[in-house]
């Protein structure tokens, strides 16, 4: 289990603190409480629940935490934050970057 080893060595896992920005690609589901979206994280796509950001539309940027979008953010901010998280190696362990 490489993530086990990495974490033990202290480079850190961030799962419960980490919120990662991504771009809403397309929406699915008609129930507003359980609307989901494909969200693009600079090339990696994940299915994200939009229950807490019902106003999010395709093209919007959202901050994603444990599979849920917790707030909408502007695109400059999204890019800056994504690059920052990438630079500190926080994304790889959580599967947001290769």
């Amino acid at each position: 289990m490489p993530s086990h080893r990495v974490a033990r060595e202290g480079t850190g896992t961030f799962q419960m603190c980490l919120a990662v920005p991504g771009r809403v690609v397309d929406l699915f589901g008609d129930d507003p409480a359980f609307r989901s979206a494909n969200v693009d994280f600079c090339g990696i796509r994940k299915n994200v629940n939009l229950a807490f950001t019902p106003e999010a539309e395709p093209g919007d940027y959202v901050l994603v935490h444990v599979g849920f979008a917790i707030s909408r953010i502007d695109s400059d901010e999204a890019h800056r934050t994504f690059q920052y998280l990438k630079s500190i190696g926080a994304l790889k362990e959580e599967g947001y970057a290769v």
Partner: protein, 362 residues
């Protein structure tokens, strides 16, 4: 300024550090509550950029670290049941219980699976109707709405084989405990940005008023933290004690209503034990009684355990900013990230582990 060239915006970082230098005329003790912020402060050597008179102490804001030993032991008991699939965020698997961790339980045959979202655990329950699927519901207010939604969804679908082992904790009661403790040294707080993205910062405004302590809601990047420190120093130097929002790009006063609603629907406030600190009144969340069918403690009739923490560990003092990790006799000798004795050495966001990684050789 050993790391400053690594900053995304070194010029801004230097300007902020200069501002802090210029503004501070007296010694001040500040605490960042969130483990993610602790990690950034250590990694970027922010303590070295600011004047020595501004001391940073690291708070208890790492959910991995503060989940009590007993809960880890309960998780291991559940994971060991032959009919059970135990699901968890990856962070929790290497947290030592009193004898072993979930990784060891898995290598001994338990079906333990890492999920990225609590909804993935619900999906595992749908796909495995013959198995009991338990999810380890830990974390602060940032994670609670997602976990609440998973339980809500399981009930909506009538899933009979999904439950949650809940050990949720809340940030403001821990800050209150620190402020009330007789030996308290903390004069200003950086409040956790993502927790406030969910909850807003009304509760922090109440704390600021009640204890006459400045609180700044801060982000997670080096420049965010320098700015938050600068705002706190400015308040302290002028005798103000207000709540201010440095992280306004993601946080507003009221927070995320939809997320708060589902939390309130599914969870209720309860007393919680914090690893290394002890029980704090009204400092956590548990499932409401109407969701008892999804509460792993009730479904599996778990007996309450009581386990003693290693006596040499002074983490209660560390987590309240009353002792530096390196002042603990066990630090770096009998207690290391490979063999943690106490909570703050467990996760990279814990104060002792961050200190071990970045400051051990200072």
């Amino acid at each position: 300024m050993k790391y400053v060239d690594e900053y995304r915006d070194p010029a801004i970082a230097i300007a902020l550090a200069g501002q802090i230098n210029h503004a501070s005329t007296k010694p001040w003790v500040l605490m960042e509550v969130c483990g993610g912020q602790t990690h950034t402060l250590m990694r970027y050597g922010i303590g070295d950029l600011i004047p020595d008179s501004v001391e940073l102490v690291h708070g208890p804001g790492c959910p991995v670290c503060v989940t009590p030993l007993e809960m880890i032991d309960q998780a291991i008991v559940l994971a060991g049941r032959p009919d059970t699939i135990f699901t968890s965020y990856g962070d929790m698997l290497r947290v030592p219980g009193s004898r072993r961790d979930l990784f060891q339980a898995r290598s001994e045959g338990a079906d333990v699976r890492i999920v990225y979202s609590p909804m993935d655990a619900v999906q595992i329950a749908r796909a495995n109707p013959a198995k009991q699927v338990v999810f380890f519901g830990v974390g602060f207010e940032t994670t609670a709405p997602a976990n609440a939604m998973a339980v809500w969804q399981a009930r909506k679908e009538g899933l009979q084989n999904f439950s949650m082992l809940v050990s949720h904790v809340l940030v403001p009661p821990a800050m209150r405990l620190i402020l009330q403790s007789p030996g308290n040294r903390v004069q200003g707080f950086i409040a956790p940005g993502h927790v406030c993205a969910i909850m807003g910062f009304r509760e922090y405004a109440d704390l600021a008023r009640e204890f006459h302590v400045p609180i700044v809601v801060g982000g997670f990047e080096p420049v965010d933290l320098l700015e938050a420190i600068s705002m706190l120093v400015a308040q302290l130097e002028t005798g103000r004690a207000e709540v201010e929002n440095q992280y306004s790009r993601s946080v507003d006063y009221l927070g995320n209503r939809a997320a708060q609603n589902i939390m309130r629907e599914v969870f209720t406030v309860t007393n919680r034990k914090w690893r290394g600190i002890g029980e704090i009144g009204s400092s956590g969340l548990r499932l409401k009684d109407e969701f008892a069918a999804f509460d792993a403690e009730k479904v599996f009739e778990l007996q309450s355990l009581h386990v003693e923490e290693p006596r040499e560990c002074v983490s209660a003092l560390v987590l309240q900013g009353r002792c530096k990790p390196a002042q603990c006799p066990a630090f770096g000798t009998t207690c290391t990230p490979m063999h943690p004795l106490g909570a703050p050495m467990v996760s990279a966001e814990g104060a002792c582990a961050a200190w071990y990684q970045y400051k051990r050789h200072d």
